[in-house]
Symmetry: C2
Subunit: 233 residues, 2 copies
DNA sequence: TAGTGGTCTAGACCACCTG
DNA sequence: AGGTGGTCTAGACCACTAC
């Protein structure tokens, strides 16, 4: 038993997770201190710290100075979803991607949009409507509003070939966003574009985007019937 | 300029993020090595490492040994959603929570469920139907199947007062799960329970849960019309 | 006020990957 | 083969907070 492999933070994390899941350490348990655990596992305190820090970020344990580390009773688990560009989603399905610009116009920002993005009065936005197809089947209808002031070059952009999402990603990547998922009923226009019956239930993703506090764009993406967003945790 | 405060990993992370967002380091840029950055920021390499590691986890940069750190061109951003218990969701709305057990029966697991959870042939499951109300308005219809073999004590549990979700959390916390969001159309039963018209579009969350590889439960939660799940990133 | 986690340091070794 | 990130160590100081 002299040939024990050295334990990494991942091994320690796995072991602690296992003890929590198997209720060796039930909810409410006060864990040994980092120093004590480091001694038990035969590693440095920094290694234990990293293992426990990540478990705390996931909400499984609660850490406070002086009090110590406690197994959380009612963990609020977090689910991570990867938000891809439509093209990627479709190509991941091994389907052929096609994009089409349905229409565009330059308008004053409507009230609901000003409220949504916190736009100043009198702001102008570029309003775009587009379709995304997978193997020529309707996949997603995209309606988008872009704040001219935040992205002046958008006035000269040509959206007949490249979608606004990909164009914006090239111009204004790494922005912050607020996302909402919901279910909506297909109206006449949506049912035509997505090739469904009126009244069909459709999955919708809305996203408002800011760059360093400045409103950039708001988009509504409505998916073909049957679309699901899934993940693990 | 001698009184510069020492930089922490958070300061470095903010600075790097800012340089990426402001396109000082545009997509594709090869960042200086950790050693070089540590010299520039006047800190240890471990500090730079932690700052960059977290940015890499978020998908903003791509790190490879020998090649170095590159600003990602098409970042796949991750959105985190907090998955709460219904009671919490309702109480967070300052509404009164009420739970009602609609029905329950012990059945052999249907084929689709066996496939979904990877249950062995001949497994028995407890099938539960419940309603959750916010201020006595229908909020969520819950249909759940619990694997008897994974949680034998479920046979003696009384679900007339406490919902199966909360009961399970107390018995089998910290399990792993697979979640899916979708939009569905209200059938006769759903429209009655949720007080909507038939054909209404409803938001649905499905979750399959395993504990250390063993299938525990599958649940379908269908929400009242207008329900949205939202988050930021 | 004392104990705990939060973080940083300086150094080291290793694994992976590109040239 | 060599350079880069991935990780660990042993020690240190600090900040928060329960007692």
């Amino acid at each position: 038993m002299a040939d024990e492999k050295r334990l990494g933070f991942q091994d320690i994390q796995d072991e602690v997770l296992s003890r929590i899941q198997s209720r060796i350490w039930p909810a409410g348990t006060l864990l040994p201190t980092e120093i004590e655990l480091a001694k038990q596992f035969g590693c440095a305190r920094a290694t234990v710290n990293r293992a426990l820090r990540e478990l705390a970020e996931q909400g499984l344990i609660d850490r406070k100075r002086k009090r110590g580390t406690i197994v959380n009773a009612a963990p609020v688990r977090q689910a991570k979803f990867e938000i891809e560009v439509v093209r990627q989603t479709i190509e991941d399905m091994n389907a052929q991607y096609r994009y089409s610009l349905v229409g565009q116009d330059l308008i004053g920002a409507p009230e609901w949009l000003r409220a949504q993005l916190n736009l100043p009065n009198g702001s102008d936005v570029l309003h775009l409507m587009c379709m995304h197809y997978a193997d020529n089947q309707p996949f997603q209808y995209e309606e988008r509003w872009i704040n001219i002031d935040a992205v002046p070059s958008v006035k000269d952009a040509d959206f007949s070939e490249i979608g606004p999402n990909e164009w914006l990603l090239a111009q204004v990547p790494f922005s912050n966003a607020e996302i909402a998922f919901s279910a909506i009923t297909a109206d006449a226009k949506l049912s035509e574009f997505l090739g469904t019956s009126q009244g069909a239930s459709l999955f919708r993703l809305e996203r408002a985007t800011w760059l360093q506090g400045r409103p950039v764009t708001f988009v509504r993406m409505t998916y073909q019937p049957g679309y699901k967003v899934s993940t693990r945790y």
